[in-house]
Symmetry: C5
Subunit: 355 residues, 5 copies
Amino acid sequence: MRHAKVKQRVPTLGEPPGTLLPVGDAKVEASSITLLEFGPQELCETRFESVAAGLAHQSSQPVRWLNVYGLHDVGVMQAIGERFGLHPLVQEDILNNRQRPKLEDYGDYLFIATRVFDFPPNGGRLRYNQMYLVIGKDFVLSFQEKPTGVFEAVRERLRSCRGALRSKGADYLAYGLIDAIIDDYFGVLSQFTEHVERTDQMLLHGHEQGVLHKVQRLKHDCLKLRRSILPLREILLTMMRGEYRLIQPDTQVYLRDAYDHTMHVIESLEMSREMVSDMLDLYLSTQSHRLNLQMRVLTVFSMIFMPLTLIAGIYGMNFENMPELHWHYGYFAVLGLMASIAIGLIWLFSRRNWI
Amino acid sequence: MRHAKVKQRVPTLGEPPGTLLPVGDAKVEASSITLLEFGPQELCETRFESVAAGLAHQSSQPVRWLNVYGLHDVGVMQAIGERFGLHPLVQEDILNNRQRPKLEDYGDYLFIATRVFDFPPNGGRLRYNQMYLVIGKDFVLSFQEKPTGVFEAVRERLRSCRGALRSKGADYLAYGLIDAIIDDYFGVLSQFTEHVERTDQMLLHGHEQGVLHKVQRLKHDCLKLRRSILPLREILLTMMRGEYRLIQPDTQVYLRDAYDHTMHVIESLEMSREMVSDMLDLYLSTQSHRLNLQMRVLTVFSMIFMPLTLIAGIYGMNFENMPELHWHYGYFAVLGLMASIAIGLIWLFSRRNWI
Amino acid sequence: MRHAKVKQRVPTLGEPPGTLLPVGDAKVEASSITLLEFGPQELCETRFESVAAGLAHQSSQPVRWLNVYGLHDVGVMQAIGERFGLHPLVQEDILNNRQRPKLEDYGDYLFIATRVFDFPPNGGRLRYNQMYLVIGKDFVLSFQEKPTGVFEAVRERLRSCRGALRSKGADYLAYGLIDAIIDDYFGVLSQFTEHVERTDQMLLHGHEQGVLHKVQRLKHDCLKLRRSILPLREILLTMMRGEYRLIQPDTQVYLRDAYDHTMHVIESLEMSREMVSDMLDLYLSTQSHRLNLQMRVLTVFSMIFMPLTLIAGIYGMNFENMPELHWHYGYFAVLGLMASIAIGLIWLFSRRNWI
Amino acid sequence: MRHAKVKQRVPTLGEPPGTLLPVGDAKVEASSITLLEFGPQELCETRFESVAAGLAHQSSQPVRWLNVYGLHDVGVMQAIGERFGLHPLVQEDILNNRQRPKLEDYGDYLFIATRVFDFPPNGGRLRYNQMYLVIGKDFVLSFQEKPTGVFEAVRERLRSCRGALRSKGADYLAYGLIDAIIDDYFGVLSQFTEHVERTDQMLLHGHEQGVLHKVQRLKHDCLKLRRSILPLREILLTMMRGEYRLIQPDTQVYLRDAYDHTMHVIESLEMSREMVSDMLDLYLSTQSHRLNLQMRVLTVFSMIFMPLTLIAGIYGMNFENMPELHWHYGYFAVLGLMASIAIGLIWLFSRRNWI
Amino acid sequence: MRHAKVKQRVPTLGEPPGTLLPVGDAKVEASSITLLEFGPQELCETRFESVAAGLAHQSSQPVRWLNVYGLHDVGVMQAIGERFGLHPLVQEDILNNRQRPKLEDYGDYLFIATRVFDFPPNGGRLRYNQMYLVIGKDFVLSFQEKPTGVFEAVRERLRSCRGALRSKGADYLAYGLIDAIIDDYFGVLSQFTEHVERTDQMLLHGHEQGVLHKVQRLKHDCLKLRRSILPLREILLTMMRGEYRLIQPDTQVYLRDAYDHTMHVIESLEMSREMVSDMLDLYLSTQSHRLNLQMRVLTVFSMIFMPLTLIAGIYGMNFENMPELHWHYGYFAVLGLMASIAIGLIWLFSRRNWI
């Protein structure tokens, strides 16, 4: 709970650990709780109006999936925590919407904290939504800050009975949810790559100062994504290794697949990151190239005009005895001299590839 | 004791190890010793006027927490060291106010050296205060250079009996103190980030030479923080692993939580560090951009004025036979020529986006 | 299957894992399936027209090698998958032509995903073709996007009974195929190095802006190659270690050899990579050198002409009382003064090595 | 013995290993051998005039410490080697005054090679003196190139019976010597930091080319120190781990303390290193800043003077019909025009913050 | 055999592994084979004219050392391979003169591939010669591309019976050979350092463009050396660890010594590498410094001459009413004004340290 973002004062400073206090702004007004119970034959979907109703509910299906939108309602959290026997620290973590991605084993259940990203539609900076999973023997709890639609496909598959979800246990459902999160990363990454490419185009054409700031923002977004996705790899790796008895050997093959997808996301991210860092290099070397070009133009111009101006200055002197001034074609001779100097210099420069 | 800051001559050079000599300036005049004894039912707070009084004191509560402000009093150290059976090297370390963060296992107790940071109110550089914890079976000793208020919240919680502190052992109290230290880091980090942002703003507007020095100071402060907080992660990691029999399995879950918070602090620190390093890049590329701009202005100006000056120079020559000089509208023709050359060049430059 | 390239929308989003859907464009119109069965004495080559024909086929030889061109035909995949007992995730992976190189152990068989590279003949960017191997006790399945000719040499050796291929098992055949893939890398690397050297030459002579983009493209190609070849090293390392019972101890010595070749490829790649990064350094320092040169020329020119122009300007003033103007040789004296100033400055510059 | 500094030809090339040949210049003329024997009660100090005298000497005290100055005397080495049963390779290493810091376990004794540093008093580059320790069950041998005074404090403590040295074994004496070496590093580091700061000051004020070379020399010195001190950390780490039965468990706590001091030295070194590398950055960005400044001044000057010179040039033309020339206040009007142009431009520049 | 250098087409593409084909150009015309058999008492040296003669030879001494110059003779290789029972892959590797340094354990013998370097006498680029060792129970085989003289010292020691070589086994002989190779590295490194220093001197004086290319060549040579010497460290490390029963525990102490020498070589190499990379930095900052200097000169010159030229221009205007022109000392007043402006500006610049 004290993990509040660094910039804002930590609100629960001094509270004993395990005290349930929501941290961060509530993104939805009231928590919304949905329960999906299912077995190979049946699926039962319930939307609870009140916590009391939920506590009274008796389940008869092999697997239960409880999804909660809204992470700020202490009462809801306590009720659920009591019902499923969650450790006070887990409850505290879930009420906090700023948790590093991690996996913690509490014996009877696994607690997973992760994040889902999106770009605001009107083109702002990358945002993230905290997401928590609790995986038990016959239940999965999922907590989200606000409805994101990430799990919609899984829900649809459960309802339409496609795939093996209905016939397998809670661990396979958890795999399905993690897989849905990774799918979501692919989409975000594709949007991010678009941003990168658009900025690259701007750099090639516009060259304004503002682009530099944009590049740095992209760099930061990239790091943000990386910091959230890299731990997911570790989480999947430990789940795959079969240390946790809650994960069936059967499901481990699928987790290996999810791990593979995560690696794919990470590699794409690394490529975007390299593109961003190349953009900065390109910007600087373009600047340097342009400086060179301008310098060359200035040098060529100066070298042509300085001698000519000197000649004009010489024949503008007021000495009494300057024989050339009295020559009949002196003026034209000087103009000719100037022209030939100019042409000679231009020829010299073009031979040296300066023009 | 020889670990004195490198720049000042090492004062105890040549003394045998284990000799008790205070190293560093005393930050408080006299040591101040407080004892909190508590159990689930009772809490007893004593402030010792003299070491003798402390030695005579008999404890009746399950957990004792002795807090000492001031690290330079050899007599106090020896008395406490004898009473709690501390190794001479531990005593020597505590008298030294420049110790790297570390955890040492002495069998009957754990010795932890760590640091707390603050920024002086009038805006100077980051300072640190050394802090030592000795965790025994039924006691915790904490040593600080001067009163910092870091443990005030823990003391308050003990007095008001909030949370589980009163009903748990010395290891849980130690966790509480470490957690309070980490909470303190969040505050320092938030101040540090403010400094970074203020300097960033200066860079964007003022562009003075002085900013470079400020950026480097931020860089150094960042490294200082990092060097102190990174070892804390290691300390918590070894405590979590359950190697030490003084730490109850029950407390390990809480230490995992503290570890997580430390990771959070470290990640924020890394982000600040990147911001600082980006600032230097930005500074240099801004410089390069401005150089380019000035160069372009100079080049454009020179290219416009050099031909015009040449023309004026030509018609300032004193040749006898210069027909143009005698034309009635010669002067105005030349002015017109100049104007059209200037306009032509400006058109050319604006087409090339140079203006 | 959701691993589609990041930039295009993921086509199977929301499909349950294990659903067979081809991902990516089909590179050949119809799949083409060939079976090579062989033992020390006999070799039998069959080209199947239809999947049904393949399923009906009964093998009598100790080792079977089934090669499939085309990764998009779901029907073919399902038939083969059923026949050889492939896990749905393996089938899904094979239908996807964008898989990271990896090795997965499914107990009865090993699944290897890898890539083969080529440069398009008309000089475009590096392309890759996905390639999959399934190694069983007495069979090897190889899947390729399109005919690449990589395995032609192995096929030829089998037919002509050269080497030990015919007398050894499926694991040795798999080694042969992997070795053929590594051989192919040598060729691609040689082409890549040619590209690098050609660009290096361009940089030394042409110095156009376009070269920078080319260098960055080479850098990206280099990273692409690296990302595919590095995992191959890991794959061979795990195969060598003798963890998999499908690999005979006898074959492990050969795999060590293949590992060694891979290391050779990687080292050459690293050298090319360094060349590319040196090219950028060279480009920038060449730019800086040239800027210096131009600056020096400009400075020298300005320093010579500015004093001369001033002198001409002074004697072009119209003061009534300027004694020098009336000297008989004043003009020539001034010309002489100018010449000696110019010569003096040139002598000065040449002594300072500026000319 | 072939480890001679790379730049000089290796003198013993082709000699069989274990041949005793001194490598490097002798820094003292004759070897000087001192023996300190001590127990809790007695201390006996002997200075041997000849090797024979030493061999004849019979010891009666529990711990013997033999110190040798001068590493080039083969006869002395052989006599000592025989007496204490040293391996030929150890003898060869000791005769060589260029050994990397290392710890080698020869069963009956540990062989430690390390270095001590100093700056020559007249301000040259960092020098090092090789130092060797052989730690046996009841003896410590120390070999130095020349008297450095590093062990003087230990000797003094032994004589005055301060600390625990007299009552403990050879391993504790060895710890004492290592601790003395680390103490010495603190002093060297303090001198080095002074050099760094002095160069930093030069950079801020003088800006000469020579500073760059000085910075690079500091960088090299820093690396030299690092290369010698980092292995010491490893040496202490292995000694602490209790692998060697010659090290009593009791002494391990003290070695941990020495390890801690070494870490302290290393951290200070890292900070100096960062300061040095920052100095280079600062130098370059200062250069770039100054270039910008000069460019700006030049640009502003040119932009002000070029139009004025053009105007003067125009009214210096010799056209017959130039009405302005005949106006009575024409000259003053033009001067006014010039002044207003100059003022206008200066106002423009000051608004753009260019002046 | 397919490991041919990347740039040339791979010659044995498509050949089955284990086919004996020489790869690379033959550096000597005919292979030359020498056998040294020795025991503590006797040493017998034979130079074989033909392979047949060698096969017929019967050995009676405890240790045999067979040295072969020339790596391209398939017949010789096959004969030796058969006689000593070498694996076909070992034979194939030996025929190839481009092998990465490595150690392979074939049970009855160890196979070591390594390299020896030299600079061509007429000053070209660093070349390497492949070298192979096969270490058996009672024999050592060494294969070299051409006679290099690296082993001459070992041969001499064997003949003159100096050192322990004659009385020890094949493993000690192998150590002797490896030690000789490391000795050779010291020589090459000393030559390389000379090259580095010569280039450094060029950089300090000549500053030509060509130096940059030279620096990059040094960088590449450095990497080449590193890539060959680093694996040698690993080879010695595994040999030291006592995994191979062919290496006697007695010899391991000597291998530790050889390991130490290798570390010494590597450290010297790292220092050279740093010198090379510093040279590039120095080059760039020297460039930048010089640009600054030139810019400063240009700026100072322009700032002095532009006002003077303007004044001359003003008094060269042809207005009728310019009172100053008629002043008797007007001309001299203007000259005085010019001089005082020039002096004033010079004073200003020298105060700002610009001159």
